[in-house]
């Protein structure tokens, strides 16, 4: 069994609340003599995590969830209040912009300072200086004080120093977001090369694209706790779904039509092709929407259904009148219906399926019942659903086309 590079057990972090002078004095006494309770608030709690050599782990979560605190604990900047951190290897940490840069200093002097902070000797720095300057690629600005740099240039320099260090574990906190497109690509290329040579990565980002391209595994930190750990595709999808749901809750409350009307949906469920109830479908799989509607006058109602994404974006909807489908009577006043999707090409994620009962004339909407389905699978497609397409060879006359 390989020894993990990073091993966290039951990590928690409390920040002291020191709003008043009395609290401050009490805190000092408690810290010095290691006893007594300190007034605090909790930023992180009970986190267990292992990172093996060669793994790449993404860290996601809302603002203030505790991601940066966790990275700082691993980097050794913050001491955890509870639990144990074991790190076996040289850590290169890029926490926030321009770690360890002095604004009055020129880029060149800051390279020396930052490299010294990472534990490099002067000789080591000098031998790598050229490659650092080349990677940063900020031209003659390297001789100017950092305070005149744009934030992107500072990040370029910081990343360049970190690359020169060749760490066993690279920790980056949302640094890619600041660089321009070409620098981001350069960084991603570098990280990919670093990973292919057996490097270990801990990446914190709000870009699910970066997490999915660079990380095998991902961790979702929520309210200071480890909410989900697993394959980066699964975790990012859950995370996005969470946000979509959160947004839709904020945008509008679910419209509930009270079943005051006579026509109504009594039951609604989803099943697979063998008739078993399910809420999980693979992309391209088979899904059946089934239900039972109630009709007061023994006339078959019109059934309307719609599929919306978790954030409320409508995808598709239709009603049974279109195809002259009539729900069949299965009991007095009870009409069953079933819609089958033979090839469901929704992209992975969570979707809401709504069904409504209408009067037989299809004029009035009586009620709404909803259920949800989760589409699983891995894809790098974008959008809501997959459209049928094929890639073809170019013809000779393409060249003759006018330029846009």
């Amino acid at each position: 069994m390989q020894r993990p590079l990073i091993s966290l057990s039951n990590i928690g972090k409390n920040y002291p609340s020191v709003a008043t002078g009395g609290n401050r004095l009490r805190t000092i006494a408690a810290l010095l003599f290691k006893r007594g309770e300190v007034p605090h608030f909790c930023a992180l709690q009970g986190v267990n995590l292992k990172l093996k050599a060669g793994e790449s782990l993404g860290l996601i979560g809302e603002n203030g969830a505790g991601k940066s605190t966790l990275l700082k604990i691993i980097a050794g900047v913050v001491k955890p209040s509870t639990g144990q951190v074991v790190v076996n290897g040289r850590i290169g940490a890029l926490l926030e912009l321009g770690s360890g840069f002095h604004p009055e200093y020129s880029g060149l002097e800051n390279i020396h300072l930052a490299a010294a902070l990472m534990g490099m000797s002067n000789a080591e720095i000098d031998s790598k200086l050229d490659s650092i300057i080349e990677f940063a690629d900020i031209g003659t600005h390297i001789a100017e004080p950092i305070k005149h740099y744009s934030s992107g240039m500072v990040v370029r320099l910081g990343f360049a120093v970190a690359t020169a260090m060749q760490p066993d574990i690279l920790i980056t906190d949302e640094v890619l977001a600041v660089g321009d497109e070409s620098f981001q690509k350069k960084c991603i290329r570098w990280i990919e090369g670093y990973l292919s040579q057996g490097g270990t990565l801990l990446l914190c980002s709000h870009s699910m694209f970066h997490i999915q391209t660079l990380c095998q595994k991902a961790v979702w930190i929520h309210d200071g706790q480890l909410h989900m750990y697993g394959d980066s595709f699964d975790v990012t999808r859950e995370y996005l779904t969470y946000h979509e749901e959160k947004n839709s809750k904020a945008a509008h409350l679910e419209r509930e039509v009270l079943p005051s009307g006579v026509y109504q949906i009594r039951k609604l469920w989803l099943e697979n092709d063998s008739g078993n109830v399910t809420t999980l479908v693979d992309i391209g799989g088979v899904l059946r929407i089934c239900g039972v509607a109630h009709s007061p006058d023994d006339r078959p109602p019109v059934i309307l259904f719609g599929i919306v994404r978790a954030d409320g974006a409508p995808i598709y909807g239709t009603h049974s009148n279109e195809t002259a489908y009539l729900p069949n009577q299965i009991a007095p006043s009870q009409y069953g219906f079933c819609v089958r999707f033979s090839n469901l090409q929704l992209l992975p994620g969570k979707y809401t399926i709504r069904a409504h009962a209408m009067d037989p004339e299809g004029l009035r909407l009586f009620d709404t019942v909803s259920t949800s389905v989760r589409i699983t699978g891995q894809t790098r497609d974008y959008g809501l659903c997959r459209l049928e397409h094929e890639w073809m060879a170019a013809r000779e006359d393409f060249i003759a086309m006018e330029d846009n």
Binding site: Y15, P16, V18, R24, L25, T27, I28, L31, L32, K72, A75, G76, V77, V78, K79, I91, A93, L95, E96, S99, G100, H102, E104, Y105, H112, L113, A116, L117, M118, G119, M120, S121, N122
Partner: protein, 262 residues
């Protein structure tokens, strides 16, 4: 952390040192000369006030000028005062680093204290040469002992700076206490007067001040050439080491929590 574990960070300490020295005078035209100008101006003021106005005379001068008497004490004092003050604020000023990079925080304090000593000890040596050239009778043979004395004082200053720096991060009030504290301390140290002029009743209090030891000793070494080493010197050497270790213990006990407070 044992002191030897700081060895891999020697480049960082060197970097902090040069950064401290440079940042102090960066952007000023006359640069490093300010380091010399400030004590020289102080010395000029004291010379005018005490020799031209008060016309002080006391037996300890033994034919030396009052300027020499004060100069020999002024630089060690400035080393101590500036070193302790800069050291006390160094951790707070290095907050940007502490929040983002893992490194031994005590290096910030050492950088501040050492750079002050480097600047003022060089200034001191320069002034001694100038004084000797202008006809003052100085005992340069005891210079190695003077430098040893400076190292002891450096240990004491670092110990104090470590304690003050840690308290400053957690309490913030420390910096407001520093100016009055050092003003009182300055007059409670025999810099402008010899220890023998102090009335009997408060002589005990003055003797408790470690700075009176350093300054009396520097004067003895340079002005009278008395380079005998007694048990008192050994006790002081051990006390300085002990005080430094206490300061380190205090600082490193609190340093893991600095990030929480900065």
């Amino acid at each position: 952390m044992p002191i030897r574990n700081l060895w891999p960070y020697r480049w960082l300490l060197l970097n902090f040192l040069s950064r401290e020295i440079k940042s102090r005078y960066i952007g000023s035209v006359s640069g490093i000369f300010w380091a010399l100008l400030h004590p020289l101006a102080l010395l000029a003021v004291y010379a005018v006030v005490f020799t031209a106005i008060f016309k002080v005379k006391f037996p300890e001068l033994e034919g030396h000028s009052f300027i020499l008497f004060v100069a020999v004490a002024l630089w060690p004092w400035l080393c101590f005062q500036e070193g302790a003050q800069r050291g006390a604020l160094s951790v707070q000023n290095g907050g940007g680093l502490i929040k983002k990079v893992a490194f031994p925080h005590e290096l910030l304090v050492y950088g501040a204290v050492l750079s002050t000593y480097a600047v003022h000890v060089s200034g001191f040596l320069l002034v001694l040469v100038v004084l000797a050239l202008t006809g003052s009778d100085l005992h340069f043979s005891s210079l190695p002992l003077v430098l040893l004395l400076f190292s002891m004082q450096l240990l004491f200053t670092s110990g104090l700076a470590l304690i003050l720096a840690a308290l400053q991060v957690l309490l913030k009030d420390v910096e407001h206490f520093l100016t009055p504290l050092f003003m009182v301390w300055f007059y409670a140290t025999p810099i402008l007067y010899p220890a023998s002029l102090v009335p009997q009743q408060i002589q005990q209090i003055i003797a408790l001040n470690p700075l009176s030891y350093f300054i009396t000793r520097v004067r003895e070494l340079l002005m009278t050439g008395n380079s005998q080493i007694g048990w008192q010197d050994l006790v002081m050497l051990l006390s300085c080491m002990l005080f430094f270790l206490i300061g380190r213990w205090f600082f490193n006990r609190l340093s893991p929590y600095f990030e929480d407070f900065i």
